[in-house]
């Protein structure tokens, strides 16, 4: 995408220059690497394990990670502004606890789900206000929110509460057939619907453009008269809302609430966003990239499951390693630019 590449005029080197320009562009480079990585992992999996090419394997990637897609969407908004949200995993756990305990108390799901979304959005609002108006670093404000949410989980119950509500079970067990022997769950449709909404909001609304502008340079945003304060607070509301929604999807997925569930999910969400090509400093990145990031993480999990020799604890180690690789890649790309 840069015109500064020196070429000798021949079409081959011009094309090579264009590829290099594309790859070293902080906007498209990382996400392209991720896409190549994902395809490579699939080829490796297909050549090593039988049954890996079954379309249902891909569908399962979406089914097992629909909650993570939702979390990653919220996290993308936050990281695009240059912030971070460490509370998503705990808020997700809190949502499953609220859902499970209120269902046990006999509340109707039609009330519980909106209630959860309102509570988590308000928590996000509180965090956003702390960050913007009291100038507390995002990580410390969201760390406090993380511990608050975990603490509230314990307050609700120390033991696992299972969900027996017919509506939740129906939503958990419904399979929507796409083709013979290929099906997805309602959660997948919800998650993908949210992705579409997020793409539209980020690219075609004033709010979305302000999000990118804050990540590029907050001071310039203020000077341009953009609603920086409102937007900065709103991204945490979006993240809180997404965490709540992810919690609802997670409770469909596990049909239970447990205080220590989803520990470390914040790393998964951050990793998905970073691997998906969003710059940690903010300003560059796509929601669809984050979805690719989630698929990469899901594929790692699937490969480990198919392998059978590696224990599931390797997953967190692999994710940490991959996150590191992409952060270093970002460093290299941005260092070249400036």
């Amino acid at each position: 995408m840069t015109a500064t590449v020196v070429t000798d005029g021949s079409p081959v080197s011009a094309a090579a220059g264009r590829v290099r320009g594309w790859l070293t562009n902080p906007k498209y480079g990382p996400v392209t690497v991720t896409a190549v990585l994902l395809v490579g992992m699939f080829i490796a999996g297909a050549s090593r394990y039988r049954g890996f090419t079954n379309p249902q394997v891909i569908a399962n990637l979406f089914i097992d990670n629909s909650y993570l897609i939702v979390l990653a969407v919220g996290m993308t908004f936050v990281i695009l502004t240059g912030g971070i949200d460490l509370s998503v995993g705990a808020v997700l756990a809190m949502s499953t606890m609220i859902a499970a305990s209120l269902l046990q108390a006999g509340w109707p799901p039609g009330v519980i789900i909106p209630l959860i979304l309102v509570i988590t959005s308000l928590l996000g609002l509180a965090v956003g206000l702390m960050i913007h108006y009291f100038q507390i670093q995002p990580f410390i404000a969201t760390l406090a929110a993380m511990f608050l949410a975990r603490g509230l989980c314990y307050v609700i119950s120390k033991t696992t509460i299972s969900i027996t509500d017919p509506v939740f079970i129906a939503l958990a067990q419904t399979r929507i057939p796409l083709a013979p022997r290929l099906s997805i769950t309602p959660s997948v449709i919800l998650a993908l619907g949210l992705v579409i909404v997020a793409v539209v909001v980020l690219h075609y609304s004033r709010f979305g453009r302000t999000v990118y502008a804050i990540g590029g340079s907050e001071a310039s945003g203020v000077l341009m008269g953009l609603p920086v304060a409102r937007t900065k607070v709103l991204v945490y509301v979006v993240s809180g809302f997404c965490s709540g929604l992810a919690g609802v999807l997670y409770s469909f997925y596990t049909l239970s609430g447990y205080a220590l569930t989803a520990i470390g999910t914040e790393l998964d969400a951050i990793a998905a966003v970073v691997i998906g090509g969003t710059l940690l400093a903010g300003g560059y990145g796509f929601v669809l990239g984050s979805v690719l990031g989630v698929l990469v993480l899901g594929t790692i999990q699937t490969l480990i499951t198919f392998d059978g020799n590696l224990t599931s604890w390797w997953t967190s180690i692999f994710i940490g390693a991959l996150l590191l690789v992409f952060i270093v890649l970002q460093k290299v790309l941005t260092a070249r630019r400036t």
């Binding site: 009291f134 990580f139 603490g151 314990y154």
Partner: protein, 345 residues
């Protein structure tokens, strides 16, 4: 000493908090302050506070220095889990678990591993230049996976008297854990106040660029600080594991990073880096442990403690924020103006 000057002292509010908490305990439980000697050991609620608070204090000492350099270390809990897992698996794997030599080997190996983990954090922060939260977040989650690999997903229970002594033994009438924490604390105070190290840490925290121009080698300094914190965390992990006589990769040191950060923040060290106070951290750690004890003595369900701690961290951060200072300042000025007008009228 003048009351105003006393109030302006940075340790004033933390000490007040500690005194109030101790007072609540004394009201709820009159025998709270009694310390007895039994079998040549000191016993009592105050000794329990010191002993149970010692792992937090050990980590908080390292965390203070990290925060003073504008950093943060979220991986301390995972480092606790790894060191506990390493020590327990070595002791379990040896033919003679009760031998002090075996325990010494286990301790040394786990401390060496924590050294490597600290170097890793320091490398990511100082050499690669990743933000400290993200850099240490990697080890925070991947570290639990590593601990799981070491324990093979099991809770390793060890039966080794010398190892048990680390967490629950006594020396000269005092709990060994308290003595270890005291040694770490004094070491940190001496090395930062008797050498230029403390000054350089503050310099890097206040203005990295200016300190670089002044010739401070920030890179080595940052790595040292992260290594020190990881070693502190490993020692704390050994104490915790020894106390439970078991290594649990999932739960050893879980959420201890919050306690450590909280202790530092209560002690008056700003999260923005720069000036720090190790004595403040000491009082902060005591405040936290007393808070936990208070929750027990007053009869509040212990599970609520975490919500309390989160609330305290939030309130302290809000009080520290420049915005709050501004609001208080403008309110005071408005008051003064009103008073001034009253006088002239």
């Amino acid at each position: 000493m003048n009351v105003n000057r006393l109030m302006a002292h940075r340790l004033f509010w933390p000490v007040v908090m500690l005194v109030v908490l101790l007072g609540i305990n004394l009201i709820a439980f009159p025998g709270f302050f009694s310390v007895q000697v039994r079998n040549g050991h000191l016993f009592g609620s105050l000794i329990d506070i010191l002993r149970n608070g010692s792992p937090t204090l050990m980590i908080a000492v390292g965390m203070t220095l990290v925060i003073a350099t504008r950093g943060i270390d979220l991986s301390v809990g995972a480092v606790c889990a790894i060191s506990g897992a390493v020590a327990c698996s070595i002791i379990l794997g040896s033919p003679d678990p009760g031998n002090p030599g075996t325990v010494a080997v286990a301790v040394v190996v786990s401390l060496l591993i924590s050294l490597v983990l600290g170097l890793w954090n320091g490398f990511l922060v100082a050499v690669v230049g990743i933000q400290p939260i993200i850099a240490t977040l990697i080890l925070m989650t991947a570290g639990r996976g590593v601990a799981m690999l070491i324990t093979e997903g099991q809770i390793l229970t060890v039966n080794s008297p010398p190892f048990k002594a680390i967490g629950s033994g006594f020396f000269l009438g005092l709990p060994i854990a308290v003595l270890i924490a005291a040694v770490i604390f004094v070491f940190a105070v001496v090395i930062t106040r008797r050498t230029a190290l403390g000054l350089m840490i503050e310099a890097v925290g206040i203005n990295p660029e200016a300190s670089r121009l002044a010739g401070v080698r920030a890179r080595g300094l940052l790595i040292t600080v992260y290594v020190f914190t990881a070693v502190c965390a490993a020692i704390a992990g050994l104490v915790l594991t020894s106390n439970q006589t078991a290594a649990d990769a999932n739960n050893t040191g879980l959420f201890i990073e919050l306690d450590a950060i909280l202790a530092v923040v209560i002690g008056g060290t700003s999260l923005a880096g720069g000036r720090y106070s190790l004595f403040g951290t000491l009082i902060g750690a005591l405040v936290i442990q007393t808070l936990v004890t208070t929750v027990y003595t007053v009869g509040i369900p212990p599970i609520v403690t975490m919500v309390f701690k989160a609330a305290v961290v939030t309130v302290v951060c809000l009080l520290q924020s420049p915005r709050t200072t501004q609001l208080i300042e403008s309110a005071r000025r408005r008051n003064a103006r009103r008073r001034g007008r009253a006088v002239t009228a």
